[in-house]
């Protein structure tokens, strides 16, 4: 029986690496992360098919949820941030928002408690997708002026271009996708580590030698419940921020002086 001083935190790999469940060893191997991604995709598709199958004039039940979600994306993100002529981006932004939201929420579902977005593969892929979409939109809409407008912003004294142009170049081509991916990854990773640490502290405190010291477990246990509530907020907020930043980059690609 360990006393309080014997607390050992497991190596980080142990919290994020999962064994292959099927197709062991092949590139198509399926582990917990991939399984959760597939389940969440199926859930989103099912909810939206159910919601749009029988379209009533007075929406109720699933249709109500689906319509409210669509309106939230369309009004709150697309029309406000990208622009009023950008309705065609709502499906892309909506898919992105729901996909990240569902993946993040696995962090607080009891029994699963692992956000697939805390593995670099998923945020990295999403950030590269957004990167491709905003660059293609920008060059298609503004042509070469998209690049020059960014690298040589108007109204800046000519001598300052020596300083501004490299910064803007790094910002447009490197910092944007990198920070998109890392922001989502680091937030979910930090949340997962924090919840694990608190749960482990509770378990270790319950395992202490003199029985009276078991009272210490109350602290980390209550804190764990509080932090779980906070993580629900973070899961929603990170999905929202990822979508919002995508919208900002798209708006920037569509309207030069925005």
């Amino acid at each position: 029986m360990p006393v309080l001083g014997a607390f050992v935190f497991p190596p980080i790999d142990e919290l994020f690496r999962w064994k292959d469940l099927w197709f062991n060893g092949s590139p198509l191997a399926i582990n917990k992360t991939v399984l959760l991604v597939l389940i969440s995709s199926l859930m989103i598709v099912t909810i939206f098919i159910l919601g749009s199958r029988k379209r009533a004039l007075r929406p109720g039940g699933v249709q109500n949820v689906v319509e409210m979600t669509y309106e939230f994306i369309d009004n709150g993100i697309t029309k406000d941030v990208v622009g009023h002529d950008a309705g065609r981006f709502t499906p892309f932004l909506g898919t992105l928002f729901l996909f990240i939201l569902f993946l993040n929420f696995w962090e607080v579902i009891p029994g699963i408690q692992f956000p697939p977005t805390s593995r670099m593969g998923i945020p990295g892929f999403l950030a590269l997708l957004v990167y491709a979409v905003y660059l293609v939109t920008g060059f298609k809409n503004q042509g070469f002026k998209y690049l020059t407008g960014h690298l040589f912003p108007p109204g800046v004294p000519k001598a300052l271009y020596i300083l501004v142009t490299p910064i803007e170049f790094v910002q447009l081509f490197l910092v944007r996708p990198f920070s998109l991916a890392v922001r989502l990854l680091a937030n979910m990773m930090a949340g997962h580590i924090l919840l694990t640490a608190l749960a482990l502290l509770t378990a270790y405190a319950l395992d202490t030698n003199p029985g009276i010291l078991k009272v210490i477990a109350v602290g980390p246990f209550l804190l764990n419940i509080g932090v779980t509530g906070f993580e629900i907020l973070v899961a929603f907020l990170q999905a929202y921020i990822f979508t919002l930043l995508t919208a900002v980059y798209l708006g920037d690609a569509l309207h030069p002086d925005h």
Binding site: D80, S179, V182, R183, A186, I241
Partner: protein, 87 residues
């Protein structure tokens, strides 16, 4: 000083891990200072703006989250650096 550290590292392999942990801790702590101040400024000013013009609340909140996201990125780079420095 640096020669001393190199020599000590060769003597004791445990020391390397210890110094790495200390370095990682300092790196993350330093990386969290600036963004902490920055997020405080962003949110404080957003609250002030909301109190002055409650009818602009929606726009201000969206812009506030954008500001937080940009400021927070630096702290998160520090967080990633923490794991890179430790391993």
């Amino acid at each position: 000083m640096s020669q001393l550290i190199v020599a000590a590292t060769q003597l004791q392999p445990d020391l390397k891990a210890g110094l790495q942990s200390i370095g990682a801790g300092i790196a993350y702590g330093a990386a969290a200072i600036g963004p902490g101040i920055g997020i405080g400024l962003v949110v404080g000013n957003a609250i002030q703006a909301m109190a002055r013009q409650p009818e602009m609340q929606g726009t201000i909140r969206t812009t506030m989250f954008l500001g937080i996201a940009f400021t927070e990125a630096l702290a998160l780079f520090g967080f990633v650096l923490f794991f890179l420095a430790k391993s």
